[in-house]
Symmetry: C2
Subunit: 385 residues, 2 copies
């Protein structure tokens, strides 16, 4: 990096907080203490009314924007949307981004040391649900002195956390922005997650999840898992546009040693992911996805799930996202309308599949910015009163 | 089986033929001799004009209809479409179904003994293309005394063989029936095949394909590969209808030890497949799929590929088939029309995804029967002349 772009938050320093208050989990277990790593961008106003929580998706983490040092070539994962003049405008908002519990980027998770045993938790780390994340994020909000989020925002699994916030802690959130999201996973979604998990379990280095104690890692399994995920995050059209049937190496005429470009790409994506992510975290995150279903405790009635919510909602979906298709956002819209919530929905025409939520697609950025502009104005008005 | 259903071909006996004529392959190698296992249903007429060739898909084989003995509970894989009164009506047609070379059900393939080494071919078995299958099937036609097929018929990869017949041996085929087919694989199709292959390669029992010599098999890898395939053969709607989010075992409330029904189903499908199929054959078949692209040698011009074809075509697609979507059949229709071929296309509304071609969907069976009725009438007229 020669110079930080002017629309970037620039150099950021991750922060840590440790909570000694026990966190009761959905599974019945209690996490006696936990640490979170997080970053903040922008300034919290005097009224503490301009705070935005960004929730990450399956493979995300706290580093959503900016750079970690002057030599850092890769910005945070949502640099597209966080920064001066961007939808989550750091001139107006105080943006908080954390690594969730169960994660592998510094927050308490399967790679952390289990205080009871002095060894990594590994597979003994308790099952985590989206609700548990909301509760842990609420502890972070308390720590930062934030009573109410101006908005909780996220794509995919991140959007699910935003929805759960509006159900579980309706007084602490004014807006939900849920992008490329769904009210629950379909059988097909679960099936792909299960294939990813089986790929990890099948790796001889998995050792029932106790690989860290043996100084190994199921990288081959994690690579396969990520390849499965990656294909489902892209659209058929998008892959065709990017790679078509182009050959990376080998002789197609003789059908010999051929590697298509899409194959090399997947190998590269899978391999690089497997070197930076923890397999137990991947298992935990996919399970949290599978289990998310806010309607369940309301007799499968999604309208009732939102009946006590007080937030307003922006839902964004993408036409070629077949993992969480536009139809899934429409289910949410219908339920929210029947639950008498304010809801806006933009279905964005883009060929990039599920991964579109990470990309600078003009109409997406416009809609997101316009909505956040409204949130900012409300925030200022609230501050004036 | 208590009694053979009246619309079944009944008990059938697989037959074997060995060809000592060398078969030159697309890859440049020559198969000095090869065996085929096949079945026939119905009677060849005196004019030898009523023969239908059925080509199998990725995991198929020669046993397409009927039962192998009186205790056999499971009929052939296309019992839905082959038998008295069915689309491939055995009262009118002589139906031939074979296991292709490279297969693992009795025809020469990776599990066969390589005469040069006295050990199983394994990974040394040459790469096979759809064209090679057509050439080997032509040797079977010669053996059976069939100059011209009334029709060559298949679903998925089987449909690709039917298309290739019409391009390579236009004088020996009158009709093509290609169901749930595509003119070539998309990048997404190739990506899923590659994930399946990587699952097999990753199995520690794979031993670079020489597992048979060691008396082991990469069943875990093959199971995973099949799970990937299986999910892509079904539609999101179909899986939702069949399984929804129903739980097979465990406690969803506590997020503990949960197994969703769709997971149990996939495990079962994957496991049972891995016990009856050969991994090297799976690799070979997915590669044949990836490489199929009849337009390639015509400067990627599909119209030119069909310019010398003389057959008439029936294409059938299914609305929820996202592996080989309806759009892919329409590409074929457009090219065939521009190549001045007779082509009929039925897009069947069905929620079963790609696997629909195996199922008794009324409109599909009706359309297929009506088309084959026309083929039968032509056959009789030809016989009268």
């Amino acid at each position: 990096m020669t110079a930080v772009p002017s629309d970037s938050v620039g150099i950021v320093v991750p922060q840590h907080v440790a909570f000694d208050t026990p966190l009761p989990l959905s599974c019945g277990e209690v996490l006696p203490r936990h640490e979170l790593v997080y970053e903040t961008y922008g300034e919290l106003n005097a009224q503490r009314s301009n705070a935005i929580l960004v929730c990450h998706a399956l493979s995300g983490h706290h580093h959503a924007a900016g750079y970690h040092d002057a030599g850092d070539r890769k910005p945070g994962w949502w640099e597209t949307c966080i920064g001066p003049g961007k939808p989550l405008d750091t001139n107006r908002f105080f943006v908080v981004s954390l690594n969730n519990i169960g994660g592998c980027h510094g927050s308490t998770g399967p790679s952390s040391i289990n205080p009871d045993t002095g060894r990594p938790w590994g597979p003994d780390f308790p099952a985590i649900t989206v609700r548990d994340w909301v509760n842990s994020q609420a502890m972070l909000a308390d720590h930062l002195g934030i009573d109410t989020w101006a908005a909780v925002v996220g794509g995919s699994l991140g959007g699910m956390q935003a929805l759960q916030w509006s159900i579980d802690l309706p007084d602490r959130i004014r807006h939900v922005v849920a992008i490329a999201c769904a009210p629950r996973l379909s059988a097909q979604n679960i099936a792909f997650n299960e294939i990813a998990r089986q790929a990890i379990y099948s790796d001889p280095c998995f050792h029932d999840g106790r690989y860290a104690e043996r100084g190994v890692a199921p990288t081959q399994g994690l690579m396969l898992a990520r390849m499965v995920g990656h294909v489902t995050y892209q659209s058929d059209d998008g892959l065709r546009e990017k790679f078509g049937r182009e050959v990376a190496s080998g002789d197609l005429e003789l059908a010999r040693d051929v590697q298509f470009q899409v194959e090399s790409y997947l190998h590269y994506q899978g391999r690089s992911f497997s070197q930076r992510f923890d397999a137990n975290t991947y298992l935990l995150m996919t399970r949290a996805l599978d289990f998310f279903d806010p309607a369940r405790e309301f007799d499968d009635n999604l309208v009732r799930a939102f009946r006590d919510a007080r937030a307003s909602y922006l839902l964004v979906s993408f036409t070629t996202d077949w993992r969480f298709a536009s139809e899934r956002s429409r289910e949410l819209v219908d339920a929210l309308i029947r639950a008498r919530r304010n809801v806006s929905h933009a279905d964005i025409d883009a060929p990039y599949g599920h991964d579109a939520f990470l990309l600078p697609i003009p109409r997406y950025i416009d809609v997101f910015s316009a909505y956040m502009d409204r949130v900012a104005i409300e925030t200022t008005e609230a501050a004036r009163r």
